[in-house]
């Protein structure tokens, strides 16, 4: 039963990806791609990966689609180029790349086919599954992996987010006169005012309970960024900038990174390694309570601040040079 459901979902993923590539209208292609993202999140949930499914649904189908739509509406006035290269000979346009890609696909699949034999747990993963509770005090093994066993990789990822935010801010800075939009109608504004506290509560629950339930810093920060994006769209960029100014977003983003590094340095100060959790003086607490798992709640908050402030800064930088009409 499960296998046939997964087969149908895989088929739809392949079909919608093909449609997204072949469609000429870019708006429809973007919506189809977002639909592929939602289907992939469902497949991840069925393959027993709740953290990944949550993050995929929020980031890839929510945030990236809104960035897509902003970038597309920015370049709406330029004419749409033709689909394939006109100057190339006709065999080079579609046939040869399709052939090359299929050969590559067959080679890759041949390689993967021989690896899909008996599935057994590798040694490192068996160690993580067995010993996470006593070595970190957390219940979410993937969260413990991200913030304790491999916390250094998470620090590198926050650096990547910082680089992306800096790049977008530098590229889209200055130049045009900033004109604030008026947002949507009164009904949507009141409805949004009703819903926003609940969305914020949901974001906080994903963020703060990241060491107990699926979630953590990345999905939680992304939902905070989604709230900022909703405020930009519904109330207008002027309102959003006056409530959460760009300066405070920068401070929050840098504060997240600094908090992360400070918590790591605390580990060095106590004689254990950088970013160490239980050997440093962080108590494990009772498993399953909010204040457990050592420094993982602090690191979750730091990552959430970083991701939320960074992604909303990116969106704000993209949308503020758009001359919004009275909508």
């Amino acid at each position: 039963m499960n296998v046939s459901l997964l087969a149908v979902l895989y088929l739809f993923i392949a079909v919608t990806a093909l449609v997204a590539v072949l469609l000429e209208d870019l708006l429809s292609a973007f919506i189809t791609l977002s639909f592929t993202g939602v289907l992939m999140a469902t497949v991840f949930a069925l393959l027993r990966a709740p953290d990944v499914a949550l993050t995929q649904a929020i980031i890839n189908s929510g945030l990236v689609t809104s960035l897509l739509l902003v970038a597309y509406s920015q370049t709406r006035k330029t004419p749409h180029p033709p689909e394939v290269c006109d100057e190339c000979p006709s065999w080079l346009q579609v046939k040869v790349p399709a052939f090359v890609c299929s050969v590559l696909g067959l080679l890759l699949f041949r390689g993967l086919y021989s690896l899909a034999g008996e599935r057994s747990l590798p040694e490192a993963s068996a160690h993580y599954l067995a010993r996470t509770l006593e070595e970190t005090g957390a219940l979410n093994v993937v969260g413990a992996l991200l913030l304790d066993y491999r916390a250094f990789d998470t620090l590198g990822e926050t650096t990547v987010i910082f680089a992306a935010v800096s790049g977008v801010s530098i590229l889209l800075s200055g130049g045009r006169r900033v004109q604030s939009g008026h947002g949507l109608s009164y009904i949507v504004k009141r409805g949004m005012a009703l819903l926003t506290p609940f969305i914020l509560l949901y974001a906080a629950s994903i963020l703060f309970l990241g060491h107990l339930t699926p979630g953590g810093g990345f999905p939680g920060g992304s939902v905070f960024a989604t709230v900022a994006i909703l405020m930009c769209v519904v109330y207008g960029t002027g309102f959003e900038a006056s409530r959460i100014s760009s300066k405070s977003k920068e401070i929050l983003e840098a504060g997240g990174a600094i908090l992360f590094v400070l918590v790591g340095l605390l580990g060095i100060a106590w004689g254990a390694g950088f970013l160490s959790n239980l050997p440093a003086p962080f108590s494990a607490g009772t498993p399953g309570s909010l204040l457990s798992a050592g420094n993982m709640p602090l690191l979750n908050i730091a990552v959430g601040l970083k991701v939320g402030a960074g992604l909303s800064s990116i969106f704000y930088a993209m949308i503020k040079i758009l001359e919004l009409e009275d909508d």
Binding site: L184, S185, I187, V188, G191, M192, L194, L195, F198, D326, D327
Partner: protein, 101 residues
Amino acid sequence: MILDVLRFTGGICIAAGVFFSFAAVVAILRFPDVFTRLHGSSKALSGGAILILLGALPYTGTVSGAMKLVLIAAFFLVSNPMASHAIARAARKRGKEENGQ
């Protein structure tokens, strides 16, 4: 015994919800105008999604899971008409009062 009856009712609700969602898709494909498409699809989709979520209630094991489903249904009930209103208003402002695309 009572759980089986509840689950059967839940199954019927889910099937009805699927039918309404399918009707929403048919509305988008078959109606001639933006406004008629929006009208048909948003009404049918609100009802369909609520029915599916409420039909899944007997299948959750715990009370907290059931409360989460009710909360999701309430959230959807508030936000879907709001989104349809925003789309319709934007379409009206773009000058689609006549029979546009």
